[in-house]
């Protein structure tokens, strides 16, 4: 079987208006979960990986690995850069290192994206998997 393609990228996390609205509606709402369990990708990068809009991808960094839905970025072109909105899914893969000033590295983390058959975990499943509580 041919090996699945992988792509080295830089991971950014940040705000989106959907995440902003979702967090105000409540963290357990469908709106919130759907707004933060996604990964915005450059259309060119998506073609390289052979993934389409709405397909699951696995994002891995030195700190963890998480499955999210790939979405075509409306803010393209940004080849080699992926964007996951702030939230429990992004936190699995960001760099906790604070470099002695208290601030972890939420932006600019080297990551690898690959297509996957694994499902995107729901909030409760993710909490159980990460913290064994919830």
């Amino acid at each position: 079987m041919a090996e699945k393609p992988k792509l080295k990228v830089v991971l950014l996390t940040g705000r989106t208006i959907e995440q902003g609205v979702g967090k105000e509606l409540g963290k357990s709402t469908r709106e919130y979960v759907e707004s933060v369990s996604v990964c915005y990708m450059d259309p060119g990068d998506m073609r390289k990986l052979g993934v389409k809009d709405g397909v699951n991808v696995q994002v891995s960094t030195a700190f963890g690995s998480v499955v999210v839905k790939a979405k075509k970025s409306l803010r393209a072109p940004h080849p080699g850069v992926i964007y996951i909105p702030y939230g429990p899914w992004a936190n699995v893969v960001v760099d906790p290192e604070t470099h002695g000033i208290g601030m972890p590295s939420f932006k600019g983390v080297p990551a690898v994206v690959e297509p996957t058959d694994k499902p995107v975990l729901g909030l409760e499943e993710l909490l159980k998997q990460q913290f064994g509580k919830g």
């Binding site: 803010r75 850069v81 699995v92 906790p96 000033i101 208290g102 972890p104």
Partner: protein, 486 residues
């Protein structure tokens, strides 16, 4: 139906105070003037995701309990802990924060606010370099050049541009709104013509590449207010800008220092800096020195990436340098509605804006050591009190893991991610909706928050809950001291 006018929106640091709410049978049914987040917040006060009863974890499950029992359990956890963490504070009133600091002193813990994972590096740099700033009103009326660096107000502070900067109608500076509409119409017209030519003459399908090319509109020399956006992505805000500079991720520091050189008329001996041709940069630097009143707003794009606080050092120094040529101010885009208030109240009461450690009985401040993420990563804390925040959802996994592992108390209105892994959950009234208080806007202007509807029955404001916990902690400590003396 009663309409309440001039309500302050408790969502982001812009604190828009012109919201109109329609109230029907004690519920908010309509929100006028607000952005999407504002509307979601006001309309969510009767949401099914609200916590209505205190909860306590028994045999691994959260079960309903009385407020008295929840307060008692929370006080026991804090009184028994050696080094508890008290975190959050940016989405509650200054009055509640004040009680929180008293509680931190009483239990000898570390108290920190969300600035630590947001504009903490900015505060460190301001302490190093200083900050030439002003109120948002000044910018609205006078600024003729607006720069947004590493921030996307369209997504995070949706009315910032309209109320305070480029699209606001000031006394001395007019709104750039009409120009923006004209520009959009021109671009749409041009695209339509291009697509017609392509279809009729070349008979080709639309090329994706053409759509992906950055739109560069050389309108930096236009009259009136100018908007410059510097970011790693072409955000929605960048699309509104007269000039967009795309910086490579993590290279903001180089770009800031390049601007510092350019505004001193020094020549750069390279073709590009941080992926941007020097020619572009010279044009932007020209716009910076030739404005009458410039304002630079910066966001987490600077504080979270690359050199972190050194980025802010460079940004503050750039603005300091620009003040030798013209009038220029700089302001961080604060996220939570009262994060500025949290820094202010912390400073009044302890001398420091965040990351304050009371474990030795007096306040100590050393971000990197006493900041909450570092305390958690080192695994030093043995309990946590979270107020009006959701660190389990917002901290890196390793830090969140340590919060979830130890006894955890959560005070807040919604069933947030932190609440779901907490051991004691106390519901609180939504500040600015169901409870009044004071909040500080991002320019340090204190603004009163209104109580417009009643909270669910039996639900108290954060301030009152914290007072009850504090009283209970003091009682436990008195009894313990008495028992030890006997």
């Amino acid at each position: 139906m009663p309409i309440v006018k001039a309500v302050t929106c408790p969502v982001c640091g812009s604190l828009c105070d012109d919201i109109e709410l329609t109230i029907e049978n004690g519920e908010i049914v309509k929100v006028k003037n607000g952005c999407a987040m504002c509307e979601a917040k006001f309309l969510s006060h009767r949401s099914e995701h609200r916590i209505r009863k205190p909860l306590i974890r028994k045999n691994g499950e959260l079960v309903k309990t009385t407020l008295k029992e929840a307060v008692q359990r929370a006080a026991e956890i804090l009184a028994e802990a050696n080094y508890p963490v008290l975190y959050g504070w940016s989405s509650t009133s200054c009055e509640a924060i004040s009680v929180g600091i008293e509680l931190a002193e009483e239990v000898g813990g570390v108290i920190d606010n969300t600035a630590v994972v947001c504009h903490g590096p900015s505060l460190l740099s301001v302490q190093d370099v200083g900050i030439p700033s002003c109120t948002l009103g000044q910018i609205r009326h006078r600024a003729d050049l607006i720069i947004y660096w590493g921030c996307d107000p369209w997504s995070a502070h949706p009315r910032h541009i309209e109320r305070y900067t480029a699209f606001s109608e000031g006394r001395f500076e007019k709104s750039a709104w009409r120009g923006y509409i004209a520009k959009i119409r021109t671009l749409i017209g041009r695209k339509k013509i291009q697509s017609t030519v392509r279809r009729l003459v070349f008979k080709k399908p639309p090329e994706i590449k053409a759509q992906l090319e950055p739109t560069f509109v050389p309108s930096i020399a236009k009259e009136g207010r100018k908007l410059i956006v510097i970011d790693v992505r072409r955000t929605k805000t960048a699309e509104m800008a007269d000039f967009f500079v795309r910086v490579e991720p993590g290279k903001d520091y180089e770009l800031l220092q390049a601007f510092r050189a350019l505004i001193r008329d020094q020549e750069l001996e390279v073709d590009s800096v941080a992926g941007v041709p020097v020619g572009y940069l010279e044009e932007v630097a020209d716009a910076m020195v030739s404005c009458d009143f410039g304002a630079l707003f910066f966001g987490l794009g600077l504080t979270m990436s690359g050199a972190k606080l050194r980025n802010i050092d460079a940004a503050l120094s750039l603005v300091r340098d620009l003040n030798m040529r013209t009038k220029f101010v700089i302001m961080p885009m604060r996220g939570h509605f009262n994060v500025t208030g949290a820094n202010t109240v912390f400073t009044w009461q302890t001398g420091y804006p965040y990351a304050v450690d009371f474990s030795l009985g007096y306040p100590r401040y050393n971000p990197g050591e006493t900041s909450v993420v570092d305390v958690l990563l080192r695994g030093e804390s043995d309990a946590a009190l979270i107020v009006a925040s959701d660190p389990v959802s917002n901290f890196p996994r390793k830090a969140a893991e340590h919060i979830a592992k130890n006894p955890l108390i959560y005070i807040g209105p919604h069933m947030d991610v932190t609440a779901q892994v907490a051991d004691v959950v106390i519901p609180s009234a939504m500040v600015g909706v169901e409870a009044s208080g004071t909040a500080y806007r991002m320019d340090h202007v204190p603004i009163p928050l209104k109580k417009v509807v009643d909270p669910p029955r039996g639900v108290l404001p954060d301030e009152e809950i914290l007072r009850r916990i504090l009283t209970e902690v003091r009682k436990i400590k008195r009894e313990k001291a008495k028992a030890e003396a006997a």
